[in-house]
């Protein structure tokens, strides 16, 4: 034993020596830690809180690549990057940005943009048309959004811009870039060509995926271009510091073409986990942030407080809460009468009262959409709902399996209220199936076994325009897919997952299944939207979209439930805030702080 003990190093020393030594080591570690303390908290932690500093709360940003689907893309379009155009104050039209002017051909297919001579990246290089062409090529190239080797795939959104050849290039059907409708015809001229007229095209260009990237940098530093000090942008502000899960520090882009109108000296964007939202208002009331998004209970508290209520900003009718039919082995939900009965008995008025800022969502198309009228809206009627249920073979709900609402978000308040409506008004059995979000993403596309029937729960927000509301959200293709009988849906999914098919063959096979087995009205919706997309006359076009929208409502495959508002708390010193009902909420450029 004694011999073994002596083989331990340090054994010659006494315990006291050892303790002394370990104390010194600890002190040394502590010392070096405190010396590097500045690094621990980020490089820029000591910057002074000047008058022109703004602090805003945001959700964590994982990547600063606008072509990868994350929350990061919505902070970029606020004014870190700048596209050809930006949205106007109301969000229903566009203003010149990098493009100073543009011409649209008579057939509404060719857009010729003139880029300003003085647009510059934050590293001083000029912003030229080739930057846009190269950026869009990256967007349309499968697996090109490589950041450090990880390819996440581009946002599918560009498909809805309708740029000629874009969809086929992305699918791999077309490989010749020169056939895609994106051309830099000079340093300051960019020509974009569409396959069909798209009245939303200019607004669609305000989406983050359409923001330009410094492609030289992206290509030379594929792993590090997003990380300051490498980061380069062309908007009013640029990123000088990024501490993951903590903060983004923005300063004015000194090379910005309209530098004179950028008023803040610095913006600290606090990256707050959604799970910490419950304490977000503490930071706001404690002066740690000047602008924060509010959740339901906080909104009520702010509304009741004489002072805080003045700092409350509402963006009405921002998003749409909807239910989508689940595919099931049990046939009950295949009967449109059952789905209609459930929609007519939702008691949307009561649901709207559950949380602040909600309105009955009587149609999938929000009433903000220009030209919307009551004829599109669902008229609730419990007696009619009961009659329909009985007619479908489920009098008073007898024989109808419990109707489930599949929820993958943390809060089930509204789903619980819907269940309540159905049980009270129709006397049927219903329940909320609250699952982890991974389970949700997988289960909502499956064919539910046994007598599991119901809907999945979701929200959408988008441009309040007809092409978006009818053509892009709950798109004709989505409606056709959801209308497929269960066996065809399974076949459809297996084609989607088949990796041995060539892109063109896959697309053809999928289209064939839809054409052969989707419901007739679903196919008709597709035809109406196609027709609307090419209709040059504004009034006629809107009429076609409306017809499609009405037909879509009558299928009850997607049930609109509520139109939801967004709430922000904004300190009175923040000036120039223009809230828009778009996922980036507002632009940074007009913001300033007063006293």
């Amino acid at each position: 034993m004694a011999k073994r003990a002596s083989s331990v190093p340090l054994a010659g020393q006494t315990r006291r020596d050892f303790l002394r030594l370990s104390g010194l080591t600890l002190a040394a570690i502590g010392g070096s830690w405190s010396l590097t303390g500045c690094g621990l908290f980020g490089d820029d932690s000591k910057a002074a809180d000047g008058q022109s500093t703004l602090k805003i709360d945001y959700v964590p940003v994982e990547v600063l690549d606008p072509q990868v689907i994350t929350n990061g893309m919505w902070i970029l379009s606020r004014g870190i990057s700048e596209g050809l155009v930006t949205q106007n104050e109301k969000g229903d039209g566009v203003l010149p940005a990098v493009a100073s002017e543009w011409k649209v051909s008579d057939d509404h297919l060719t857009y010729t943009f003139t880029l300003r001579d003085n647009a510059q990246w934050s590293d001083g290089k000029p912003v030229v048309a080739q930057d846009f062409e190269r950026t869009y090529k990256r967007l349309f190239t499968p697996a090109a959004t490589s950041a450090g080797g990880t390819t996440l795939g581009a946002n599918s959104y560009q498909v809805s811009t309708g740029i000629k050849g874009g969809k086929d290039f992305l699918a791999g059907v077309l490989t010749d870039w020169s056939k895609v409708g994106v051309k830099a015809t000079g340093d300051h001229e960019l020509v974009l060509t569409l396959s069909n007229p798209n009245p939303d095209f200019l607004l669609a260009l305000t989406h983050p995926a359409m923001l330009p990237l410094p492609m030289d940098l992206v290509e030379s530093k594929p792993k590090d271009w997003q990380n300051p000090p490498n980061y380069v942008s062309n908007g009013p502000y640029t990123v000088i510091e990024w501490v993951q899960n903590s903060k983004l520090i923005l300063v004015p882009n000194e090379k910005y073409w309209d530098r004179g109108n950028v008023k803040l000296g610095r913006i600290q964007v606090n990256l707050v986990e959604p799970s910490a939202a419950a304490t977000a208002t503490v930071a706001y009331e404690n002066g740690e942030t000047d602008l924060v998004q509010l959740a339901g209970p906080d909104v009520l508290r702010f509304q009741k407080d004489a002072n805080l209520s003045k700092e409350l900003e509402q963006t009405e009718n921002y998003s749409i809460l909807y239910l989508a039919k689940l595919r099931s082995q049990h046939p009950a939900m295949e009967d449109v009468r059952v789905r209609k009965a459930l929609s007519l008995a939702l008691d949307r008025k009561t649901l709207a009262g559950v949380q602040p800022g909600q309105e009955p969502g009587v149609s999938l198309v929000t009433s903000r959409t220009g030209g919307w009228d009551e004829s599109l809206g669902i008229k609730e009627d419990v007696a009619e709902a009961k009659r329909l249920l009985a007619e479908a073979g489920y009098p008073n709900g007898q024989g109808l399996p419990p109707v489930r609402i599949l929820v993958g978000v943390p809060d089930t308040t509204l789903a619980d209220a819907m269940v309540d409506s159905w049980t009270k008004q129709l006397g049927i059995k219903a329940s909320v199936d609250h699952v982890e979000s991974g389970v949700y993403t997988e289960r909502r596309w499956q064919v539910q076994k046994g007598n599991y029937i119901g809907f999945y729960y979701g929200t959408f927000a988008g441009l309040p325009t007809w092409p978006t509301m009818v053509g892009s959200l709950w798109s004709p293709k989505n409606v056709q897919e959801i209308s497929l009988p269960s066996d065809q849906w399974q076949k459809y999914q297996s084609v989607q997952e088949n990796k041995n098919l060539k892109p063109a063959d896959k697309t053809a096979q999928l289209d064939a299944i839809l054409a052969g087995h989707a419901s007739k009205p679903a196919l008709e919706i597709g035809a109406l939207v196609d027709q609307a997309n090419t209709e040059p006359d504004d009034a006629k076009r809107m009429e076609l979209y409306k017809q499609a929208a009405k037909l879509r409502e009558e299928q009850y495959l997607y049930l609109p439930v509520l139109w939801l508002s967004l709430f922000h708390a904004v300190k009175p010193k923040v000036k120039g805030l223009q809230l828009r009902a778009y996922p980036d909420y507002f632009y940074l450029k007009p913001l300033s702080v007063g006293s």
Binding site: F41, T151, G153, V159, N286
Partner: protein, 325 residues
Amino acid sequence: MGLAGYLGKRAVRLVLSLIAVSMLTFTLLQLAPGNFADLQRVNSGATNFGGVGTESMVGELESRYGADVPVWKQYLIFMKGAVVWDFGPSYKYASRNVQDIIAEAFPVSATLALLAVLLALLIAVPIGVFAALRQNTKTDHATMFAVTLGHALPSYLTAAFMILLFSATLKLLPSGGWNGPEDLILPVLALSLGPAAVLARYVRSSMLETLREEYVTAALAKGGPRRTVIIRHALRNSLIPLVTVAGPLLAALMTGTVFVEALLRIPGLGLYFANAAASRDMPLLMGTAMFFALILMVTNLVVDLIYGLLDPRIRTVGGGSHDGH
């Protein structure tokens, strides 16, 4: 067999355990429903723009490990990198390699952990001694009641309470963030109370045991001042068992504390680990899980070595029968 042999044996065990951890994590991740791309779409602004083109996204994501690479091969590719401390880029934080994320976030969690354990010791030792010296009195019971309560309170509740008290009500401290030393106060307090309670109970029972030892009685009988006997003889020896508790405690805190980090907006490692699991970010989850396992095992090893050094009686044949729990 000497120390070298002992260390060698432990090293082999450590490597085998790491392989087991990696296989288990990978298997569980494969079994979990949902995948990274779908979740990303649902949990970000993407849902705002409809669901076109999902298939291509999933396809491209998989190509990160080469097109159509079978699952078992993905594991091997990952492990091949892991051997040389290269876990590759995270799916979710796509511009960063997992090892860089660990290098950035670990010092944050480790600083908090070290400070919290130090503070816990500073609180626990006096309380434990105090209670032990007054064994079975009302003071002892009251102290131990408070300590048990402290132990039962989860750290996130303590953190929420402290935010309410120090930030919302007194407006003395920031409610979160990571901008300067003042941001250390709340998390360190929140993290230290639970461990302090655990440690105080250990100090108390260990102290009670030591006080009954003959050498303490002897020292007192020799007429040594009570204070000196308690501090120099009893306390010092009763602190030895603390090493076995404080070590793993430190390791547990160093690997990050999901709730406290989320609540107080601290960019530590725990948050990454939780996010990796929730978003099915394979490289990040594998990297952090293996790193946590490594930290825990190394700490246990260090504890065993220190313990053997502090108390030669522990050094049994082969030196490895004690595992430090």
